[in-house]
Structures are given as C-alpha cells and as structure tokens.
C-alpha cells in the first residue's frame, strides 16, 4: 500500500515539476518541443496530455507558456501586467489567459486573448497588451478577472517561418505594473 501511494505521488510530482523542468526556457516562457510529437518520451507525452491535450506538433504550431512574472512570482488577478512584443516571424500568433485549471477564466469579458489579426501596434513598432481585471484605457486587453492566482499565459505561434528562432528577445516580455496591496 505504501508503495502504491509512493508511486502515485512520485508520478504526480513528476508531471507537476516536469511541465517547467522538462521544457526549454526563453526568458519566463516555457516551451516543450515534444508537444504532439510521435517521438515524445513517456514523461513529455504525459505532461502534454495533461496540460495541452490535442496540441499540434512543433512543425505546425509552437506553444509557449508563462507561469510567473519577471520576478518569478506566480501570476495573480490582484496584479496589473503589461505584455510587450513585436510581430513574430510566423503566419499567425495569439496570447491566451488560462486559469489554474487550464480552462478560460470564468469571466464574460470576451477578452481571453489577443491575436495577430486584431492587435493594435504603437508608433514604435511594438504592441502592448494589458493583463488586468479591468480594461481601463488599454488599447489591447487580456482580462484576468476571476482568474485568481497562478493563472498562465499561452503564446501560440502558428506556421512559424523556417528561420523562426524563439529567444528572450523575440518573444513578448511581461512586466508587472502594480499589485493590490503593493505586493
């Protein structure tokens, strides 16, 4: 009985730790190249099945996920963030917010994502999206209302160009603007 409990606990732990530790990291973004691949190892396959079932293989789409802010703190509804980026060398991209249960946050703001076809760029060639519970004066907005703590952001990059190389410089950057209570 102890062996069964130990085995189950260690498997759960491996899946939990593995989603960040088994992935490539670019800044705060995590990327699992084995997503959807027929060559994926058993741990990668299990992690992807749990966190991103029916993901496409990296040739078709690349999925980058961000679980923490620029200081390494878990993302929280009580903070206001700004995501800044340039256009990516791909056919289409989007950034979507998911609550800690891996589903869209339970709000009806219809602002779960920003995407390449609708985003507004600033005059300096960058786009900026506010991640916050209320829109305020943001030109691009991802609602974190009802997302509570430990939500995540997933960047989808569809049909990446052959020379697309993810890096801390090419991927969007998340900055914490403020947190309720000054945290």
């Amino acid at each position: 009985m102890i062996g069964v409990v130990l085995g189950a606990a260690s498997a759960w732990g491996a899946l939990e730790i593995g989603r960040t530790n088994f992935a490539e990291q670019y800044g705060a973004w995590h990327f699992n190249r084995a997503a959807g691949s027929t060559a994926a190892g058993p741990y990668s396959r299990a992690i992807i099945a749990r966190d991103g079932l029916l993901a496409l293989s990296a040739r078709e789409a690349m999925y980058f996920t961000l679980f923490a802010d620029d200081q390494g703190r878990p993302l929280s509804e009580s903070c206001i963030y700004e995501l800044t980026g340039r256009d990516l060398d791909a056919r289409w991209w989007s950034v979507t917010l998911y609550a800690d249960d891996s589903f869209l946050a339970q709000n009806n703001d219809r602002a779960h994502s920003v995407d390449a076809s609708r985003i507004s760029y600033s005059a300096d060639g960058y786009w900026r999206a506010r991640v916050s519970p209320v829109k305020g004066d943001a030109a691009n907005w991802i609602s974190s209302r009802a997302a509570r703590r430990e939500f995540s952001l997933t960047l989808r990059v569809y049909n990446p160009q052959r020379d697309f190389r993810p890096s801390e410089q090419t991927l969007p950057r998340l900055t914490t603007l403020s947190c309720a209570g000054g945290g």
Partner: protein, 178 residues
C-alpha cells in the same frame, strides 16, 4: 533485519511499477475521456463545437480564436473517409492517436482547396483506389479541424463551412454511391 530489507525492496519496486504505469497510462486515459466527451452524438461523424467561451470545458486550453470540429473515430469496422472544406483563413486537419500523439496534420498551405484522406488502421489493407491513405497507429482516435475565426461573425461563417466536412466510413459512402 532481513524481513525489513525485503519490505523496503517490496515498497520500492511496487512504487516504481505504479509510477511508470501511471506515466504511461495518463495520455491514454485522458484521450479516452476526450473521446467520450466529444462523441456524444456518436463516433465517425463531425461535431462542430460551439464558439469557445469560458463555459467550454471539454478539452483543456481551448483557443477562443478558433472554430473547432472534432470527429472521434473508430476504425474497428473499416476505414474512414475524412475531408475538410477550405476556409479563407488558416485551417488545418490534424489526427491524434489513442496515446495522444499528433501523427498527421495538413493545412491550407498544402491543401489550398480542402483536404480528403482515407484513414486506415495500421496493418490493415488499404481500400482499392483510395488516393491519400493515412495509417492510424490505433483503432480509436480524434480528428480535429481548426479554422481561424477570432470574431463571432467569423466563427458563424466557419461553422457554416464546417457543414461540408465529411467523416464517414468508406463502406457507407460506397453504399450511397451505388
């Protein structure tokens, strides 16, 4: 002392067995759950998902920017014809095996005017005259069409186009033709 040593070894071996059994079982179990959730209207037919909202809770991490159509397939009774009608924006047809592997994908760059494949279980004979045969590593799996449709208007148009998609057994189509 000998008794304790045997006990510790027993615990460690059973823990390792359970650990690997779970790691190997997770993708298959989750795919079975997904197949069950997506096949309320039956197997071997397309189902166009409602527009993705915060109420969408069938598959983790859905994108609100896509219109999804899913066909949960079972090749036990023979091969299937699967087709995807073209869409003005990005679209793709992808196939997932019972262990969650994405073993096939085709998109509008390769199939500008839509795609049609014949899906056969690996090791089974190919239907005579079938043009593009794809072998599935497992009898059961999921075919998924993604159509980029970020606005409600685009979703409605994509859902309309999705009515032209086909997921049907070769035998049933042959019977219709004859």
């Amino acid at each position: 002392m000998e008794h304790l040593r045997k006990y510790v070894w027993g615990v460690l071996i059973s823990a390792a067995l359970v650990h690997f059994a779970i790691i190997y079982a997770v993708p298959n179990v989750l795919m079975n759950v997904a197949i069950s959730r997506l096949s309320e209207m039956g197997l071997n037919r397309w189902q166009v998902a409602p527009r993705v909202t915060e109420q969408s809770r069938q598959i983790v991490r859905p994108s609100p920017d896509f219109s999804y159509s899913a066909c949960t397939y079972d090749l036990a009774r023979g091969p299937l014809v699967i087709s995807a009608a073209p869409w003005r924006e990005y679209w793709s047809l992808s196939l997932y095996a019972g262990n969650s592997d994405n073993f096939f994908v085709i998109d509008d760059r390769e199939a500008h005017y839509g795609a049609e494949i014949t899906l056969v279980q690996r090791g089974r004979p190919h239907p005579e005259g079938a043009s593009m045969v794809v072998e599935s590593p497992s009898a059961r799996g999921i075919a998924l069409i993604r159509r980029l449709a970020p606005t409600p208007e685009e979703y409605s148009a994509a859902a309309q186009v999705a009515r032209e998609d086909v997921c049907a057994s070769v035998a049933s189509l042959s019977a219709t033709d004859s």
